[in-house]
């Protein structure tokens, strides 16, 4: 199949970027979107041009690196999948495909389609951990956790930190990411010791990074490759307000 691409090219964070058009023939519908980009880059290198910089790692849908905003959607037209799990059969022969990097103040463009997502790392460093000594792995069922609670924690813990929620949100809000991190520890016994300070610190760091506020449009959850629920945002609000009213930190 033949595709026409409009790809965001930007040398670095200090220079202005623009959409550049490329045309590719003989693309297999079975190729992943990233393999199509590999073909493009091979062609650019052959012509002596600079290849398009884009993030990718596992290409198995679990690392969350492949941040591409494709035809107006985070990770393209599919739901519940990352860019590497998007295949060219999702497009038609002769389609024009616009590819842009994530757009957010907190995610500055490094080059072309690569953005700096270390803001997420700093939010997690602010409280997304359990610092009490939990010892070695306990025997199964030693800590009684009801199945529904374990499932809920796992649903939140599925977050791969890809940033699609921020990219899709009209406010570039990181609420779905931060709430997944707050939520998965707030419901488990291991997370109780730091429950309040975690919510307070992670929300404060989220604000400091320059993410927007939540309008509950639900776009984040739709575009999330792990389909993380808005339930977690409501829980984070509950955790944060509860912590602010009852924690020892004045």
């Amino acid at each position: 199949m033949k595709v026409n691409l409009k790809v965001w090219r930007q040398k670095n964070n200090n220079t202005a970027g623009k959409l550049v058009e490329y045309s590719l023939d003989n693309i297999s519908p079975d190729m992943s979107f990233l393999e199509m980009f590999d073909v493009l880059n091979a062609e650019l290198i052959r012509k002596g041009d600079e290849p398009v910089a884009f993030d990718h790692d596992c290409r198995e849908g679990i690392c969350g690196m492949c941040s591409m905003y494709i035809n107006g959607r985070a990770h393209g037209p599919q739901t519940g999948a990352t860019t590497c799990q998007l295949h060219m059969r999702s497009f038609s022969d002769g389609d024009t495909i616009v590819v842009e990097p994530w757009r957010a103040r907190a995610f500055p463009v490094i080059k072309d389609l690569m953005v700096d997502r270390t803001a997420f790392d700093r939010v997690v460093q602010a409280g997304g951990y359990v610092s009490v000594n939990t010892g070695s792995a306990p025997d199964a069922n030693e800590i009684a956790i009801p199945r529904t609670i374990a499932d809920e924690a796992m649903d939140a813990a599925q977050c791969i930190g890809c940033g699609a929620c921020v990219a899709a949100c009209k406010n570039a809000s990181a609420m779905l990411f931060v709430s997944a991190k707050v939520s998965h520890m707030a419901v488990l016994p291991q997370g109780q010791a730091e429950r309040k300070i975690r919510a307070e610190r992670m929300v404060a760091q989220m604000d400091a990074e320059g993410f927007g506020a939540c309008s509950f449009t639900g776009a984040c959850s739709v575009e999330c490759p792990k389909s993380i629920s808005l339930d977690h945002i409501a829980r984070m609000n509950r955790e944060y307000l509860g912590a602010k009213l009852t924690s020892e930190n004045v």
Partner: protein, 232 residues
């Protein structure tokens, strides 16, 4: 910064202010709607004028009315602050977006809908509230007691088709504002549970987004039709 100002100036805290003022304004709509149903009574406005007298003289109502004015201002100002903050969170926008693929139109346009409603509230208060408090309203006498005849002012305003049209359009905007705003307000407060969230969503959609705006819109339409002798 104390913990209170820190909380209220956080992104979550600002949304809590939006939520609390918004939900308070929603409850006000119920009271305002119920009271104004007197307009349908067909008694040349006596019940309506007695009701407006009560609303402007009861000390509890007067106190709550100041809370109401404050809520409108805080809701609007905070919306402005949040919108500016949210826009600054994405300094470079996408060249190509398809927001309709993942979210409802109303949820993305609360600011525009809110601006329409703010302009409506200013016009509405100028026409009725200002006239009632500071203007010259004709008097009506019931059982030897003098009442301000606001009903006559209402009929005069709603006899004009364009004025009725502004009200109907504004009530459509109100419906779209509340279909998202009412249930979203509960989410912001962390109130989301499989037991009661479906109830909140149904209440927000059928009562607050459809029934209440429809009844409000019916008032100017009814008076217009009556004043221009389309109906008896």
């Amino acid at each position: 910064m104390s913990w209170v100002t820190q909380t209220l100036s956080s992104s979550l805290g600002r949304k809590v202010i939006m939520s609390l003022t918004g939900l308070f304004l929603s409850t006000f709509l119920v009271v305002h709607m119920a009271g104004n149903l007197q307009l349908f009574k067909g008694d040349e406005g006596r019940a309506f004028n007695e009701y407006t007298y009560f609303m402007t003289h009861n000390p509890l109502i007067i106190t709550v009315s100041y809370l109401l004015y404050t809520s409108i201002l805080v809701h609007a100002l905070m919306a402005f602050v949040l919108t500016r903050h949210n826009q600054a969170s994405r300094p470079v926008d996408y060249a190509f977006k398809r927001p309709e693929a993942n979210s409802a139109w109303s949820s993305r346009n609360m600011g525009i809908l809110g601006t329409v409603l703010l302009i409506f509230i200013i016009l509405h208060m100028r026409t009725f509230w200002y006239e009632m408090h500071f203007g010259s309203v004709p008097m009506a006498e019931y059982d030897g007691k003098q009442y301000k005849d606001l009903y006559t002012v209402v009929v005069a305003a709603f006899s004009q088709w364009w004025y009725v049209l502004i009200y109907v359009v504004s009530m459509v905007a109100l419906g779209y504002h509340l279909v998202h705003g009412f249930q979203s307000g509960f989410q912001t407060l962390g109130l989301r549970h499989k037991k009661y969230t479906p109830l909140i969503e149904a209440l927000g959609t059928y009562v607050f987004a459809i029934l209440i705006p429809a009844l409000f819109a019916a008032m100017p339409i009814y008076i217009f039709l009556k004043a221009n002798n389309f109906i008896g």
